[in-house]
Every structure is written in structure tokens, then in C-alpha cells.
């Protein structure tokens, strides 16, 4: 006989995760939808995923190295360092933004059909991931141009990608829930992303701040470990990377993810009442 479903207040299903797994095709199809819709009715299409990071890198390279005169890590071409940081930062920022908006953007689905709501934030990651892969390919090309091939550390790259994903999910899920109730969040997020870029070692090296008094607070930011580590994977041991910063990454991210998931699960059956 078919399975039994029990519907009652404040009790998400006990086989929620099984349900989520059963809906993996929906996850895949929603991801595909977001990707194929992304550049519809644009002249340049998918080329935008290349143009955008390239332009941002050019602007930042000019502003920070020629105008602000920030130094690169010794022996590393400045544009490469920036593109490295920018690649992983953009991945985080896009994923975080898209996760935070995922429920509201899919409100037509939320109000008309049931599926584990976690599918929406999860599928929101797809677009950012494609952009990330393109940006990474761009980095490889640029490193060939600068005759600075990626080091053997690159084998650790997947670890940092997973960390980025989990961190963005941990923070994003929380905002996704709040966003349903208070649309102010959607206004706040671009601002948070903008500030975030300056407090993370995207355009500069953590070497610059490691002797400052605020370093012990700076390092609490889970993204510091991720971004430094990511650059270390691509640029080798010349890039500054303090492995202890990963402790806070692991601790803060997993705590955020745990709490966000609990919060999300508690609220997901009432999203429709606020949409």
C-alpha cells in the first residue's frame, strides 16, 4: 500500500529527507530552468558570464593596484590574485543572494503546490555555480597568459567550493525565511554583499592585516578562511593562507547551517500565509 502522510501543525514530516531525495528530479529541472532562462532575450547570451567577471576584475585591478596602490602577495601577479579572490567571492555572493530570494521568487509555486521547500534554495545555487565554473576557466586562461600555472594545491579546490556552498546556504536560508515575512531583506542584501566584499580578502591579501589589532576579530569571518584557502589552492604557497582561520570557517558555518535548517524547517509550512 502507498505511504501515509500526516498533516498537522508544526510537525514537518518525519521522512522529510526521503521526500527531498524523491524530488531530486524537480531540483534538477528547476536548476535547469534557472540556467536556461538566465540570458534569454539578451544579445550576448551566455557571454555575459565571461564579460562580467572580466570587467569587474579590470576595474578592481586598476582601482586597487594603480590608484590605491595595494600590494599583491610577493611574486604573484596582482590581476591573478584579484581574479582568484573575485571568483570565489562572486560564487558566494551570487549563491547567497539567490538563496535569500529563492522563496519569494518562486511564490507562485509556494502558493499552489507542495514539495519540500528546501528544493527552492538548493536549486537557486545552479546559476551561480555555472558562473563560477566560467570564471574559474577564465582564471586558468589568465594564469597561462601570466605564465603562472596553478600549483599542486589545486587538488584541495573542491573542499573550498563545498565550504563556500555550505556557508552561503547557512546564511542564505535564514534570510530566505525572513524575506518571506519582511521584503526589506531583498533591499538589504545587495548592500550586505557590497560591504562583505571589503571586509573579505577579495581585492587585497590577508597578509596586509595579519599584524593589525583587529586580526583576531577579522578571522572570525568564515569567508576569510575560504577565500584565502581558495587563493592558496590556485596560486600556490606564495599566497598568504593561515590554516587556523579554517577553524572559524568550520565552526561558524556549520553552526549557521544547523540553526538555519532548523528555522527553515519550522517555518516552511507557513510560507504561503505570508506570500
Amino acid at each position: 500500500m502507498a505511504h501515509t502522510t500526516t498533516i498537522k501543525a508544526k510537525a514537518s514530516e518525519k521522512d522529510y529527507w526521503k521526500d527531498l531525495w524523491r524530488n531530486k528530479q524537480l531540483l534538477w529541472i528547476l536548476s535547469k530552468r534557472d540556467i536556461s532562462v538566465r540570458y534569454k532575450q539578451t544579445l550576448l547570451g551566455i557571454a555575459w558570464s565571461v564579460i562580467r567577471p572580466l570587467m569587474t576584475m579590470l576595474v578592481m585591478a586598476v582601482v586597487f593596484s594603480f590608484i590605491a596602490k595595494l600590494p599583491s602577495d610577493p611574486g604573484i601577479p596582482y590581476p591573478l590574485m584579484i581574479l582568484g579572490g573575485l571568483t570565489i567571492w562572486t560564487f558566494f555572493a551570487n549563491t547567497f543572494t539567490q538563496i535569500s530570494n529563492s522563496i519569494v521568487l518562486n511564490s507562485n509555486l509556494v502558493s499552489k503546490v507542495y514539495f519540500p521547500r528546501l528544493i527552492m534554495p538548493l536549486s537557486a545555487v545552479s546559476v551561480g555555480f555555472i558562473d563560477f565554473l566560467i570564471s574559474l576557466a577564465l582564471f586558468i586562461l589568465l594564469s597561462v597568459y601570466y605564465q603562472y600555472p596553478p600549483s599542486i594545491n589545486i587538488i584541495f579546490l573542491p573542499v573550498f567550493i563545498v565550504f563556500t556552498f555550505l556557508t552561503s546556504l547557512g546564511i542564505g536560508l535564514f534570510f530566505a525565511v525572513i524575506n518571506v515575512r519582511f521584503r526589506d531583506i531583498a533591499q538589504l542584501i545587495p548592500f550586505m554583499v557590497q560591504v562583505g566584499m571589503y571586509i573579505c580578502p577579495v581585492a587585497y591579501s590577508s597578509r596586509q592585516v595579519k599584524d593589525e589589532w583587529f586580526y583576531k576579530y577579522y578571522i572570525l569571518n568564515p569567508l576569510v578562511g575560504i577565500i584565502d584557502g581558495f587563493k592558496w589552492c590556485l596560486l600556490g604557497d606564495k599566497a598568504y593562507f593561515n590554516p587556523t582561520s579554517l577553524y572559524s570557517t568550520i565552526l561558524v558555518s556549520s553552526l549557521a547551517l544547523l540553526l538555519s535548517l532548523m528555522y527553515f524547517r519550522r517555518k516552511e509550512n507557513t510560507f504561503v500565509d505570508h506570500i
Binding site: 500500500m1 502507498a2 505511504h3 501515509t4 502522510t5 500526516t6 498533516i7 498537522k8 501543525a9 508544526k10 528530479q25 524537480l26 529541472i29 528547476l30 530552468r33 536556461s36 532562462v37 534569454k40 532575450q41 518562486n106 507562485n108 509555486l109 509556494v110 502558493s111 499552489k112 503546490v113 507542495y114 514539495f115 515575512r181 519582511f182 521584503r183 526589506d184 531583506i185 509550512n269 507557513t270 504561503v272 500565509d273 505570508h274 506570500i275
Partner: protein, 418 residues
Amino acid sequence: MPVITAENISKKYIIDHKRSKGASSLRDFVADTFEKWSPAKKKATFQEKEEFWALRDVNFSINQGDRIGIVGHNGAGKSTLLKILSRITEPTTGEVRIQGRVASLLEVGTGFHPELTGRENIYLNGAILGMRKDEIKRSFDAIVDFAGVEKFLDTPVKRYSSGMYVRLGFAIAAHLDPEILIIDEVLAVGDSEFQKKCLGKMRDVSESGRTILFVSHNLTAIQALCNKAFFFEKGQLVDQGDTTHIVTTYLSRVSHKNLERSWESFESAPGNDQVRIKGFKLLPEYQDDLKHIDVRTPMQFEFEFWNLEEGALLNLSMHLYSFTGECIFNVGTTAQPFSKGLVRGSCEIPGHFLNDGSYMVSMMIVKDTSTVLYNMEEALSFDIEDYRENVTWYGKWPGYIRPQLNFSISQTESVVND
């Protein structure tokens, strides 16, 4: 064995009178929090929030193969119930146990993306409704055929006509293969040709022994498709049982409040210094003891007013409007002089004349056949229910009027095969 059991389910909404439903802003939240903590304003905030029970203590059980029609007025809680059963929202209290795979069709074409092609949307919508990819693949040709969109499969649906869009949406839903099917008023969309197709498909589904829950205002369709019915009123399940019985109960409770309006005192009556309205009445001659107006019911419309001017040459002009505001007809009386005092007009609307639907009446008092003395807009409103005999078609009957004309059919020649 019951496949759906609901025990004491209730759903509460908090209505906020200060702001509209939906997204609220953080500013309001912060302001509210401050107000809540300041004792002086405590009472004020309290009054602005009101509890609203969309459903209250609903209990029922549905057996395998039951086809349940759900009737009730707007806001009776029908849609909320469907939302809870389809797990879109959770009940405030109570518990529902469901056995089997549920597919709910609360909207046609849920999640269609305008930029994607018909083909892509079939896969997208199918997955959203809970079909597996191989199921969609298997029914793909049947879906396309049912919707009649072969030529436009690779066109983005934003270029579809609204009819094609709806047809494609229903076609996908019609090929779901659940054990329990929940349908909300999908027949309200599409042309009559398509509605016929939908009802046919739903009859097929119901004959295959699946459990169906069906909300509709189309009582004829409910009577044809369902073997049992639930009657909801103000969030409560007030009656359940066999369809004919419930439909009868429902129709007998159709509100009569708008069929009569009157003003007792001259001072409070609407009007001006030439005429004052005393009252209106709509007197239906009910065809059966159900006491509801259907397409067969003749009605008498009565109207009374005070004439305040001696010897005024007056006539009445009555407009009948459809619910959407189109004027269906305008009739007038002949003009004649009246002395001061009460004047009464009456108009007969025959049975078998207006189609089912909602109507509004407005009344004009005209002087010297040219000057409008007073125009009482939306004086009365009334609903006409559908009624059919010996018909197996349940779609919406088209047109504003539904006259019984002399229309005959006969055999003029028989070909005898020998």
C-alpha cells in the same frame, strides 16, 4: 477503509487591519514591537489585529473511490481545506492522515515559465506536479495531442494564446496518475469547448476508481461527477452526504438578503425634492420547494416611490446588468401624469429567459420622457442558478440570455436498407 481522515482541523489567520495582507515591512514590525512594549498604546495595537478562523473543527473521512464535491459560498473555507490537504499550508490545530499519492490541481499551468518552450514547460510543470521523468516521457505525446499544440511545441509559451496556455496546463494535469486527486475550480477557465473536454476527462478519472475532491460553483458538474458532497459555511462543515441532498441544502440557503430593500421613513429615503424611493422587491415564483432562483424561475420586480410634484408626467426605466457590467436590456413604461403620493411600478421577467449568473438592476425615474429625476444604481442584485434536464453536458452554458425558443428537429426522410 478511509484514505483521508481529518480530525478537528482548524486554520487561523491573523488579519491586520492596519496594513494589507502579504509582505509587511520591517519598519512596521519594529514600530509594532515598540508599541507592544509601551503600556499606553497596548490596547490600540490589540484592536488592529483580528483573528479569523478560515476553518474550524472540521472532521471527516473519505473512502477509497469516493468522489467528493465541495460546495459553499466564497470564503466558506473550501480553498483553505484544499490547501491543507495538498500540504501547501499547515493547519493551526488538528490532524489529517492521507493514504496514497496526492496530486492537487489548484491552478492550471502552475510554474509555467513564459520564456521556456511548450516542450520544456511540459517537463517543468510535470515535475512540479510530482510526475517522474519517465512518466512524463510516456505521456508526452498524449499530452501534446490533448492540448492540441503540436505546431507550437518549440515556441516559448509567452507567445501562446491564453487558450493554448490553459489547454496545455490542463493536459499535463490530466495525465497525472495519482491515487487521490484534488481539483479547485479549474473549470472556471477556458472556452466551453475546452471545459467540455475537461469534464469528460474528469469523468474518465472518476470512473477509474480514484478518490477525487472537487471544489466548484458549477453545481451541475458536481451533481454529475460526485457521489458525495460536503457543504461548508463560515469555515465549518455543516452538512455532508449524498450529492443531491447537499446541493438541495446549499441552494435553499442561498442568501435572499438582496431581494428586497425598503425605507420606512420618508426622511431617510434616497431621492430628492421631486421623488423619494420607498422600496424595491424581487418576487420569484419558485418552481419547486427549494426556494431558489434558477433559469426556469419567473420573477416579478416591484418598485415604489413617492411623487412630490403635483401633475408630474413620469415614466420608469429599468436596466438589467450582468455581473461584469454589460447592460443586457433596458425597458421603460409609458409616461403618464401623477398626483402627489405613492406610485408603484412592476415588471415581469419571465422564466427561461436569463442565463445562469449574477445580475444587477438599476431603476430610473424620468420626467417628461426626457429628464432623469433620479437614478437608483445597483438597486438590487440577484443570482440565477443553472438548471438542466436530460442533458449530459455540464460545461458553462454560453450567452447572457437562455430563451426557450421554438426549435424543433424532425426526420424528413428515412433511408430503408433492404
